[in-house]
């Protein structure tokens, strides 16, 4: 994956102010709508909130599947995040972020392919 491809993704440039916003990324081959959500902290709270939302607005619980991307930030990603806070070091930070994403790209794409093939682990 090239750096320019990575930075063109809408989710990569998210900041703290819009944490919790669900970003629409498009549709997959089967017509499923794909979204992205980034939240720090307790994910169970978010799961309960989404589940309650579906319940109070009477939507089928099967309407929405959440795939928890469990990969923790590796050293490159952490360093990149810190460096990107300062405008002067941002280009260097982006290089670190790119290296960090490349490091987890293989398992990440395997996880996505498993979901597409229906091999994702169910609770």
């Amino acid at each position: 994956m090239a750096g320019s491809e990575l930075w063109s993704l809408p989710f990569i440039n998210i900041n703290n102010k819009n944490e919790g916003e669900i970003i629409t990324l498009g549709e997959d081959g089967q017509g499923n709508k794909i979204f992205a959500l980034s939240v720090q902290g307790d994910r169970e709270l978010i799961n309960r909130l989404i589940e309650s939302f579906l319940s109070i607005f009477k939507h089928a619980p099967d309407d929405l599947h959440i795939v928890n991307i469990r990969f923790r930030d590796n050293g490159f990603l952490l360093a990149g995040r810190i460096l990107c806070r300062a405008a002067f070091f941002a280009p260097l930070g982006r290089l670190f972020v790119l290296a960090g994403v490349k490091k987890i790209y293989g398992p990440l794409s395997r996880l996505v392919n498993d979901q597409k093939d229906g091999k994702g682990k169910l609770p």
Binding site: K17, N18, E19, G20, E21, I22, T24, K33, F35, L37, V39, G41, D42, R43, E44, L45, I46, N47, R48, L49, I50, E51, S52, F53, L54, S55, I56, F57, H59, P61, D62, L64, H65, I66, V67, N68, I69, R70, L111, Q115, G120, K121, L122, P123
Partner: protein, 200 residues
């Protein structure tokens, strides 16, 4: 319309505001300690229920009143809720999110911490109730503003729907679901599967 009052722990300020809205608590004077303790959800919600939206009742105008806990992250809570509403094409006129946390004072925070986090209910509950009494008129003002915002019906709201509450585990029967982890309360280690599918 669905009106959702939310605060840090969903146990005191949001429950009090929802109760004022429904007419369970008076809007013209500060009620006594026991009046608060008789509210079904007051000082009840546990950590493992945070995020869940609890139904409290219907007001006179037929609005559904809910409350929830967002653990000091109201912006994230509201962003997720609004995003989901956008995805499901739910009009913003169909819901109203009310952040009650702004009216919480230090007495409430201390009492709430002792009662909910530390489990010292005998000490914490009277303290948090005193704090709620101190913030009560501000909460009444907030509810008045909400009622005015949604179209202004009479303040003499009566509760039209109130279900039986278990004396041992108050609040759970009004919920759409049991808290995560069944009957267990308190801190638990959560091992999440990589794929989460909602179940009823």
């Amino acid at each position: 319309m669905k009106i959702i009052y939310h605060c840090y722990g969903g146990a005191h300020s949001s429950v009090t505001a929802a109760s004022i809205h429904l007419g369970l608590l008076p809007a013209d004077h500060v009620p006594g300690l026991k009046a608060f303790w008789e509210i079904p959800f007051y000082d009840r919600q546990e950590n493992d229920e945070h995020g869940h939206i609890f139904f409290m009742g219907l007001d006179k105008a037929g609005n559904e009143i809910f409350f929830s806990a967002c653990r000091g992250r109201p912006l994230v809570f509201e962003n997720i809720f609004k995003s989901l509403a956008g995805i499901y094409k739910i009009s913003p006129e169909e819901y109203l999110l009310v952040d009650v946390m702004k009216n919480v004072n230090w007495t409430m925070k201390l009492g709430g911490y002792l009662s909910r986090r530390c489990g010292f209910i005998r000490i914490g509950r009277p303290i948090v109730t005193l704090g709620t009494q101190a913030a009560y008129l501000q909460l009444v003002d907030l509810v008045r503003k909400v009622i005015k915002t949604i179209g202004g019906h009479s303040e003499e709201n009566i509760i039209l729907q109130r279900q039986q509450i278990s004396s041992r585990r108050p609040g759970r029967r009004n919920s759409f679901r049991l808290p995560a982890g069944g009957e267990r309360v308190g801190r638990q280690r959560i091992v999440e599967p990589p794929f989460y599918k909602y179940k009823q």
